[in-house]
Symmetry: C3
Subunit: 300 residues, 3 copies
């Protein structure tokens, strides 16, 4: 079911791109006018690259809620890899094309009533997404223009910087506990790196979804701006980060994130097995089915 | 001197109860009216269990200052174990029945002029109290209704959530350094998990006792309420935490606390020996005797 | 080029002085009037010891910008060692005698166009300075009375407490990334211990120089005072810290800092080799030369 590209994409895992930073050749200067803008889109993510600025935007367009299905994750990894290898791209802004939602997190239909092989494939794609994004050589800015529970929150946490629309109706958090499931250790490590141990401990135990103002107060997002200014602000922040020489910034990022990245790389297969044995439990399957029923009723 | 129950209680150490979480059978529904309330009290702690709410309260009633003697610690561990094994109990609120004091911390008379064997037995009981409380499957809320130095502060830090009476005359902190002694590494680890490294470093070096408003500002307690509302607020907070499914919450707690728990489990006997050799020094004995003299004079 | 004292000074490395704390004999009481004040000065640092208070001041006087040359670092280590071994000294205040600058950090001329042996000697002196200061038995207070980029910021971070003049024109930060270089891991570890992971990550990647008010807001400095009150405030803070018994405070400090100190001690030679191979790169040499050119032009 995985797109052909994901094989290569996965094969590269463990060799984190940052280790290649030193050998990187100097970038070619951006081409002159007309400003180069390229867009490529598959089904679920629209990617626009502004070559003159060196900045790409990845817009999630998988209605109704940008859930992280296997297809979405596969497309995400392929798109990110393309940008990573594109000398014209130094930074990427992640945002949503769906109103009111950034991403609703992992797609529950991928975790319900499927085969062990499917669970394994799905979980490896989730890991892959995080490994690539957390270790990206590019500057990564999340422009969170809607609610962002669970895996959606993880995507934001995994970026270098988080800007959120200051709408108190939008909330963000790792709310897995509310569904009776447990965030994996690398979700937790990423969260602790951002908000510290005390806040992470109670937020994860309570499965809290923090309204934007609270998310800002606890450091879960770095700043709030009115929704209509979110795009411009993300561009301005990106410019500030790109003013720094790439090599030093990339090496610094590796230094900060290596311990947490290495931990998943070292326990990756174990983590897949844990996920499978957890998700295969009848009690968990049952509560996921009930949750899906509830969502369906809500919809209709 | 230890109550007979403590033997079993200690024998279980190392097998932290959380590892059994998955195997736990579903709880029976609470019985109908009349609301079941059971109380058991030994000498030093009054335990009340509200079965309909699934919440117990442990009230320290060992005047004048709820000091953590061997008897107190033994009773604490036995009471906690009973609740832990009681399916009717999902959360416990820790508070004091003695006005103005939550707990004054370790009982100095247990550390002064006693045998090596006594020091060892006492220190194992301190470790046991912390190991059980920090790894408890239950939701643990500290309702800090008075001052809480040293070991008293540790009890609060070891809970999931801390509410303190907003009386600026009440203070809380790990003030061991003021007495010329050093907080053990697992006091420190617990403290760092709550307030972060910088605050912990200066607070521990200065042996700071933080008045309630300051304790709140640095994150040492999660919220302040007027003393007369403390009990109601603790009950409301407990309700919020108990709204979550137990399993997911318990596993999340284990994930957050395991590293720090494992560190003491791995170095437990070494830590006992360190305590004995430290506390047996004539210089330390002398300063503890002087401190006790001072307390006696204050009292008379 | 190193002063003869540095050999001994370096030979002691790895045996951190704190490990000797327990064996230390009791201090002699301070001598009576006239108050004993001793001063010793070499070229770059003025050291004044107030024996009655037990407090020394180390004043950096190496214009124009107190840059950390090999000579400066050597003198710093020797001065600190003298004070460390002087029973009359229990605390040291670090400040600058040069207006508007605390210290500009590592001297770039030591890293540009020199031999491999020189780079190694220089880098060992930087490590030595940090190892001695971070593990000092004395209370260390930074009175930051001017800007303090890079290595200057490191000196402040390495103290127990940081007070900064509240002048918004003064800034402080680990801005290495701005110059295209990367702060070593032990700069990073020290920084994370003070400001936490999230702030450290973005500040290091951006090479941020934080104006005093912002530095205070993020916890990089502990308090701001008007410049004319900085000296008095540093003395008052020192008094508060010295009110504690030395042994307990020193052991607490070791406990808090040991993990980070041990990491450099274990990888010290590797860290020297990393520095040499990094600094010897033609691209890095080139950007340092350009930076020095820029500074020269500014000056003339």
């Amino acid at each position: 079911m995985a797109a052909p590209g994901l094989g290569r994409c996965m094969a590269r895992t463990g060799v984190l791109p940052l280790s290649q930073a030193w050998g990187r050749a100097p970038r070619l200067p951006p081409s002159p006018l007309p400003a180069q803008r390229r867009a490529f889109s598959n089904n679920k993510i629209l990617v626009e690259l502004d070559e003159s600025a060196g900045v790409a935007t990845m817009k999630f367009k998988s209605p109704p809620v940008n859930s992280l299905s296997l297809d979405f994750l596969t497309e995400f990894c392929i798109s990110l890899e393309k940008l990573e290898n594109d000398r014209a791209c130094r930074g990427v802004i992640l945002t949503s094309a769906v109103p009111k939602i950034f991403s609703s997190g992992l797609d529950i239909t991928e975790m319900c009533g499927k085969s062990t092989e499917h669970y394994a494939e799905f979980w490896r794609a989730v890991q892959e997404m995080w490994l690539r994004l957390y270790s990206s050589n590019m500057v990564t800015v999340a422009a969170v223009n809607g609610s962002s529970p669970a895996g959606g929150c993880l995507i934001a946490l995994t970026c270098d910087y988080r800007i959120m629309a200051e709408n108190p109706k939008f909330s963000i958090g790792l709310n897995e506990a509310q569904l009776g499931i447990v965030a994996p250790f690398w979700f937790k490590d990423t969260f602790v790196n951002v908000v510290g141990h005390r806040v992470a401990e109670s937020s994860l135990q309570l499965g809290s979804l923090h309204p934007a103002p609270e998310a800002h107060r606890i450091g879960l997002v770095d700043e709030l701006v009115p929704e209509e200014k979110l795009k411009d602000r993300a561009t301005a922040v990106m410019q500030k980060w790109l003013a720094l020489p790439d090599h030093a910034r990339q090496l610094t990022k590796t230094m900060m994130r290596k311990a947490v990245l290495d931990r998943l790389v070292a326990h990756r297969e174990e983590d897949v097995q844990n996920f499978i044995s957890f998700i295969s439990k009848e009690s968990i399957q049952k509560s996921l089915r009930m949750y899906m029923e509830m969502l369906k009723k809500k919809k209709s």
